[in-house]
Amino acid sequence: MIAVPFLILVALIVIGMPIGFALIVASVATLYLLGLAPITFIPDVLDDSVQHFTLLAIPFFLLAAELLSAGGLIDRIFDLARALVGRLRGGMGAACVIATGIFAGVQGSSAADAAAIGKIGVSGMTKQGYRPGFAAALIAASGATAILIPPSIAMLIYASMVNVSVGRMFFAGIVPGILNVLAFLLYVVWRAEKLGWKRDDDPVYAGMAAKFNMAVRAFWVLMLPVFVLYGFYSGDLTATEISTACAIYSAVVALWVYRSIRFRDLWPVINQTARTTINIFTIIAGAVLLSKVLTFLNAPQLIFGFIEDYHLNSWQFLIAVSAVMFILGMFMEAVALNVMTTPILAPIAMKLGIDPVHYGIVLIFNIEIALITPPVGLNLFVLAGATKIPLGQIFREVLPFVIILILLLMLVILLPQISLWLPDRLLPAT
């Protein structure tokens, strides 16, 4: 029975139905076919699915990111990254990893991160002799770290569903996020040494003075993540309030500090944010509905029965969940994967004594992997669309990054302190 909604979902996706609608239709069809609940139950669920104050932080963080992107602030971040690591062998690739990491600290969407750095990064790398497929795969993978480094939209969605502190989630993402960026950086440098890729020898980015100048140019952008984390650390503001302040701050920086946009440029930015918001929330509404249907089909009980039958302990459970997520992630959109699985699996994780924040980080890591796993890896499509590099080439080159992420995921599963150390120090659970 539990396969029914998934079979319908796959069939609908194959005929080109948008993911959000496919989730709604698959849920309604399952309810109707199996006679699980009255039809009036559906509008209530759809209404409640998005009516959550914490979720309001998503459009506000998106607005902040759109304002910074429209203001051309990506160039400042990219220049800083080139000045910081460009002199390493494979410096341009390393700069792309650092730039996506910094931009991840400014906004919370991995697709936006990959798209923002995608064009300048890929053209810069290919000019220096990198294979186009590798250049695109590198940015797709490093862009995916945006959901691990705060502020993260995926973490906001998870926190709102499980009722954990958004601040604790954000702090928990910092160490794994930095490890993730370092792992990609080391891989690029190692590969560059092996294949003889050049250093970034542009004199504009050489020397301490260049590093300092680029840091000053990007100062106001770099203050944004500091501002977000301080907001949570102080405990005075909620996630939604912090995101509101971020949106206002970004508008002030773009309009008056850098003067990179004008008032008349604001309206297209707001409309683009509206479009992204509608898109994300349609998927959230559909995924919440499908997770309710799975609950009606006793999915949580079936999973818990499986755990009891095989006497799984907490880390074995997390590895089993990751294996299932890896397969689901090949075919499912990231937001849907998050919203659909969390209400079913998070309570089971808590029953096994796993900290919900630690489970959240494991989930986010899995979603990060899903974003770059063919055939349905959103970031791969974003890069293929932005750079016109054939998908097949990107698919081939992304495999090492998937392996690195799986190894990091195993490390995070086996050592919960990686995710819990910082939030336990700075924002202990009450």
């Binding site: 609908l12 993911i19 559906i42 459009p59 509206a274 479009r275 898109n279 349609t282």
Partner: protein, 170 residues
């Protein structure tokens, strides 16, 4: 996966309406931002803002989601995994897209019936929302049925657009 597929191009008037709907959602977004900003400032000045500063932006989020859902149908802005569809012949692509839009419209119509019956119940019992200055609950809940209705209309236009002959450009 793509931001939409190459369905038909809707008539200019419908595309204009879709842009107006997105602009409306954008306006609601800014109003909810300003309400939250007001709540932060008022609280820091030691004033009590009342529950409406929490409840109203939440309701606005529901309105934004469902009012804008239809516009993205016309703009082909919803995320869809189109790599399977691209393997079909052009004729079968049209058939698949028509089936997709028809099924979606039918299911949304079914939900719309349920949403309207809930709305009528609220009107019949004269329910009001205490957190939102006692305005009728039916108004608060109207975002979903209104959005579903608009989306169904956009889907019907989309079906028309898929099959309408494309004029050759000079």
């Amino acid at each position: 996966m793509d931001q939409g597929h190459d369905g038909g191009r809707a008539p200019a008037a419908v595309r204009w309406i879709a842009r107006a709907e997105v602009a409306l959602v954008g306006s609601i977004l800014i109003v909810s931002l300003l309400i939250t900003l007001y709540a932060i400032i008022a609280r820091n000045l030691g004033h009590s803002t009342g529950d409406w500063t929490l409840k109203l932006p939440e309701v606005m989020l529901v309105w934004m989601t469902f009012l804008g859902m239809g516009a993205l149908v016309t703009e082909h802005g919803h995320v869809a995994a189109d790599m399977f569809l691209m393997r079909f012949s052009p004729r079968w692509q049209r058939i698949a897209l028509t089936a997709s839009a028809t099924i979606t419209a039918a299911v949304l119509a079914l939900i719309l019936v349920g949403a309207i019956s809930i709305l009528r119940q609220q009107i019949d019992i004269g329910a009001t929302d205490e957190e939102l200055f006692d305005i009728p609950t039916a108004i608060v809940l109207a975002g979903l049925p209104l959005g579903l209705g608009i989306t169904i209309l956009h889907l019907l236009v989309e079906i028309y657009a898929i099959w309408r002959p494309v004029k050759a450009r000079p």
